[in-house]
Subunit: 330 residues, 2 copies
């Protein structure tokens, strides 16, 4: 069974640890298509937060408290950069983490595409899965926020500034700059087309899954794949488990609920992207409405409180996919 | 009194701490022309070991044991780079130190010349003196060493590899690559021409002072300045205090002795570069021969065992310069 997962950062990475433990990766190879739209140049270094969160989490070296960056991290270079008065001071670039960005930037500067760089970085980590950037092209999510000091009263900021520095204020629009001209990275379309199961884990529908889908060719590949396509709601009881989806879903006209996100993705039977959708038990009442959209739906525990819960969620996801495949085969 | 000093790394930097404490920097402004020929690109970062040693030493943040790099340093990024299998692993790039190279590289990439970058970096440190790179152009010292695996039996390595990785084996030649096309950095010629006292501290005559002198225009400016030009022997009792001058002086045909280095620089009265030369008391017997070359010479304690000794050496240097000026004025 070939499994392909579209992933943002923390939520996707935790789901992936559960998935990896729920299958035999030799028999059931996992390919991850990682979001690169929150990548950013900082201090001359190319930082890929979502790819790194997947890499560090699956590599067992993520900081478990923060959910991003390296375990046993130090911040000497960051403090020194601040002492030199260099901006930005709001992004947490740790000393261990720094090495990843140095290697990446040096390889990019030498002419390697991000996909080759990511493969080289992952070679160290023994991830038990294949991590593909959604694209080798530059795509950066910008968010338009209020700014009384700007002539127009608003300005566009990089997603990292929106989230890390400004802590997700009211947003007026979200634009994955460069996405319309981007091409899917090597292997991305194939990983979708040739999958048996395609999973949208509980990553942000706007700035993680949404930006992957914004790369021309990705959504079409999902519509056409013979895989069972199942998603896990990032919303539980009307709120995101982590992150700022509650601030960004309204910007694209989607309510902050498990059923609204399901309707947003839509059913492949009606030109949408999903065959099935998992909601938390707290949202069991949504199931009927989700089924009316044309999706198979189940309510299971979605909170990934630890490795066991993440594994259990992955099993539930695969079971939903299997039930969809069984119906399709019948 | 305007004082200008040509400086390499540790020896020059320690001398400068003594000099700064020996004068009133407001009344007696100090300008340092720093060697940049052992600069190196590492992991995509531009590292300037001699400029940084001067900056960190005068800034009070040098590691006092090593004599290079930052106090209270950590090595997390270095260890991680090694874990990624990235070469070279033999260069000690600390986490605090890293910030300096990040700022420098970012500014260089943005188009600022090294002189402007150095000024910006120094703004943080309150050095009490002005630090000028010898040139804004790229000059890199290469050393030819034996290599049985090379077709020619020899190969050229970067000075840092010669010294840090190979620990100064037998050398066949030393070439400051790019020097002949380099131009003195902004202010360098002026700092020599307008000085009252010009000092060659006990820096390496081949790969520190020698490379500064290899920049076209620098040696001529020294020959023509109205300043008293005095030097401090880097050799005591036939050996360098630190470093590898004993390995490199023979390569340029100079004996490893205080008097041979003096003769190598030569007297300005005979087309050379010096008016006066300080040797250690251990080399007092050399004075007569040094005076025969046309230099004023004195034997004083040269070992900079601490701040007091460095200050005392600086005072002796200034006194020698004053005595030369008195003779010139008479």
């Amino acid at each position: 069974m070939r499994i392909t997962v579209l992933s943002g950062g923390i939520g996707g990475a935790r789901f992936l640890t559960g998935l990896r433990s729920a299958v035999d990766p030799d028999r059931d190879p996992i390919t991850v298509i990682g979001n690169t739209a929150d990548d950013i140049w900082l201090f001359g270094l190319r930082v890929c937060p979502d790819l790194d969160t997947v890499m560090y989490t699956l590599g067992g070296e993520i900081d478990p408290e923060r959910g991003w960056g390296r375990r046993d991290e130090t911040w000497q270079a960051k403090d020194e950069l601040a002492a030199y008065g260099v901006e930005p001071t709001w992004f947490g670039l740790g000393d261990r983490d720094m090495a990843t960005h140095l290697v990446r930037t040096q390889m990019l500067t030498a002419g390697y595409p991000l996909s080759a760089v990511t493969e080289a970085l992952c070679a160290r980590w023994d991830l038990g899965l294949r991590l593909l950037p959604m694209t080798d092209d530059r795509v950066e999510t910008h968010v338009v926020v209020d700014d009384p000091t700007a002539e127009a009263g608003r300005r566009a900021v990089h997603f990292q500034e929106y989230w890390v520095r400004l802590h997700a204020p009211v947003a007026h629009s979200v634009v994955p700059v460069g996405a319309e001209d981007a091409r899917p990275g090597p292997g991305v379309v194939e990983a979708i087309a040739e999958a048996d199961v395609l999973i949208l884990p509980p990553s942000n529908p706007v700035v993680s899954i949404g930006t992957i889908l914004a790369v021309p060719g990705v959504a079409d590949a999902i519509r056409q794949t013979s895989a069972a396509v199942v998603g896990v709601s990032p919303i539980i009881g009307g709120a995101p488990v982590r992150g700022m989806a509650d601030k960004l879903l309204p910007v694209i006209g989607v309510d902050v609920s498990a059923r609204a996100v399901a309707a947003h993705y839509g059913s492949r039977s009606a030109g949408g992207l999903l065959d099935g959708w998992l909601v938390d038990e707290a949202d069991a009442a949504d199931i009927a409405e989700i089924e009316r959209v044309g999706l198979a739906a189940r309510a299971v525990p979605l909170y990934m409180t630890g490795p066991d819960a993440a594994q259990s969620l992955a099993r539930d996801t695969l079971e939903l996919a299997a039930s969809i495949q069984a119906v399709g085969a019948s």
